[in-house]
Symmetry: C2
Amino acid sequence: MVMERQDLDELAALIGDVERVSVSAADREAHSRDESFHEACLPDVVIWPESAEEIGRVLRWANQRRVHVTPWSGGSSLEGNPIPTRGGVLLALYRLNRVLELREADLQVRVQPGIVYDDLNKRLARHGLFFPPAPASSDVATIGGMVANNSSGMHAVKYGVTRDYVLALKVVLPTGEIIHTGSRALKSASGYDLTRLLVGSEGTLGVITEVTLRLRIVPEKVAAVAVFASPAEAAQAIYDINRYAPTPAGIEWMDQHIVALVNRWTGMSLPEVPMLVMEFHGTLEGARAEAEFVGEICHDCECVSFEIGHSRAERERLWAGRREAHNAVKQLHNDCDLVIGDIVVPISCYPEAVERIYAAGQAHDIAVYTFGHAGDGNLHFEVLMPKDDPNAHQRGEALNTEVVNYAISVGGTATGEHGVGIGKRRFMAAEHGASLELMKRIKRLLDPNGILNPGKIFEEFD
Amino acid sequence: MVMERQDLDELAALIGDVERVSVSAADREAHSRDESFHEACLPDVVIWPESAEEIGRVLRWANQRRVHVTPWSGGSSLEGNPIPTRGGVLLALYRLNRVLELREADLQVRVQPGIVYDDLNKRLARHGLFFPPAPASSDVATIGGMVANNSSGMHAVKYGVTRDYVLALKVVLPTGEIIHTGSRALKSASGYDLTRLLVGSEGTLGVITEVTLRLRIVPEKVAAVAVFASPAEAAQAIYDINRYAPTPAGIEWMDQHIVALVNRWTGMSLPEVPMLVMEFHGTLEGARAEAEFVGEICHDCECVSFEIGHSRAERERLWAGRREAHNAVKQLHNDCDLVIGDIVVPISCYPEAVERIYAAGQAHDIAVYTFGHAGDGNLHFEVLMPKDDPNAHQRGEALNTEVVNYAISVGGTATGEHGVGIGKRRFMAAEHGASLELMKRIKRLLDPNGILNPGKIFEEFD
């Protein structure tokens, strides 16, 4: 529906503060696209709520009027997850960005959704605590967005993903009702796990207004880089480390192509061969022992070199190449749109998945790079689609389709950490089969009028 | 409803094997009660299905006829979870007890629900792998029951609970439809997490027929026991270990009362003061470093002694007392029914919870013991209700109610690992508030006729 003047007046009255309701072109434009290449859509109105109660009033009103509502946390998502595809109301959650309660002794914190990951961890570091998932976009990713997309990153292999750290939620349902899920107990067998149903539901089932997170204590850290002469030896090392070593806190794959690109971008002179960049956490002795154990494995796999670093400076140096991988692709190709792939395959298929991606790049005559989280099988690939090449998108999407279908065919998933959003909807039937219908039934149960974040996860609710 | 001769004939025809359909008194009796004191109820008929398809036929038939169906995995539960309170069909899942597929390289295994936890881990140990949750009843608990109840045990503090290890499920819905949830990917952000909605649903939403579990590699282990002069020092150590040490693989609380009882039962001569029994996992150097770190913390908390053990024999000796705690209570009081409490409180409340339980025991004039998992706040208490004491049950339940309400009042949960079953239903409204209604709506969505495992979790579907 198109919103009328009267609708806007009613909304403004619900919020009671004209400063926090805007129909300006600039505000609408600023909330029309995320970090993906998915088509921008303008909301009719942007609202900056300051409480769950305000959001409840807006949703109750919108549900009665059948107005679409899209929650917006930081806008750094990669699959169009918060794009208001049907216009309507955009709920910008920036003002809900406070730490409400730090319970140090219980290793938990209660926050609002708009707080940025790095800002939260800086505050927690003063207390020797941290929230581990570590998305690559940690400087802009908000906790609300991370919960909505079940985000994670390079530490997931050891620590798990956002879902594993959410103890409790305060959520406004599409009908405007406010509920609390979960508790402050670190584990529970009490009833259905609504908390984990809501985590990863991408704002289609409710608007998250408070999150209680379990925390970990900041460990001692040791970093390591193993360099291999060819992908075959690196693949064997990935296998052997996962199979025999205590789980590292990170084990990142970079192939020769992405290393070369990183060198170009940073001016570094890394050897342009496959490498694994790793981190180990625990006591210093424990982390060092794990690194040395993995070093022996890498030497058995005929690595060219294996370097360990303890100090912060050494660790940063060893990780610098990996940290710049996405930037190198993006900044050296700002004339391109990017498909950012996010498959997960069973870890035994990881080397084959890398090979398939490059082969698909050749077959479709389009440039592609891979890197990712080799400890949990999460492989990113970035496809370069020159903006001046009229059918580059078509070839890029063909490659994407082929690779995602491969991942699903070996029992993997279309998305490990970016969510379904708009870009992965077309794979849901292949990945989930009959259980996709059950997801839709749950969507209808909670959002009978389909008002909340339309067109995400499912093609049907667009 | 009461089942008629014709119903039984139809069921037998659906199974096609009279040997696997029984109305004998012995078979019905054997599936009328679990390990709790909750009242036994006889099913009308016991069926031993051998496939998901058979279960689908039975459920489709039962859903049409409005016959109640209760899945039964091992029967070792503690809250009446599989008691067929409304009679009907009991699905005994023992024959579905195979390892279907071990994928060593992917660190995962696909099993049927009837396999026993220890049997699975014995098979996995040959490959250096294990499934970590470690329920105390590991010699009888089945994987299906563990998934249904989201079971865990002493390793949960480091490794998480059953829910954290279930990658995929094959499930027969109450309407007879068979669905697959999840995938073989170690992480995913693809759609609603139906897998974790089903884990812990206690057989009220579907019958689990296959489980894909993530595994961990068997670590090196170091055990330790810290002995304290009084509860105050032990409480400080619990606080400091959780707050400052890398997470141990187990940190078990035993107070002076339960230690004394263990001595009586085993003939051991443990010092009858509070103690913490711990385990550390990793490389041997790493585990030892963690144990020594915790040792320093315990010395700072003025422990009387801190002993570390590396060899299997030493570790078993250090853990022997803890392992016998439940047996000591049960075997020395076989003239008593037991309430087995399973609260979780925020860990800062753990010492207070122990005090409250003993105070409540005195107030209600009934014997009680506590022990539990101090790393995640899970505190067990066992209330002795002499069978010849006519109002012992009333006093025991009064104590239970008081303690569970305390746990909920401090943000904890009524059950950490045993599930709701029958015994914890009355606390659900207090614990979950408005979200309990959402759980019931999900129950109605999946089981519109309320045929599956009636009377569990919710009082309403009885």
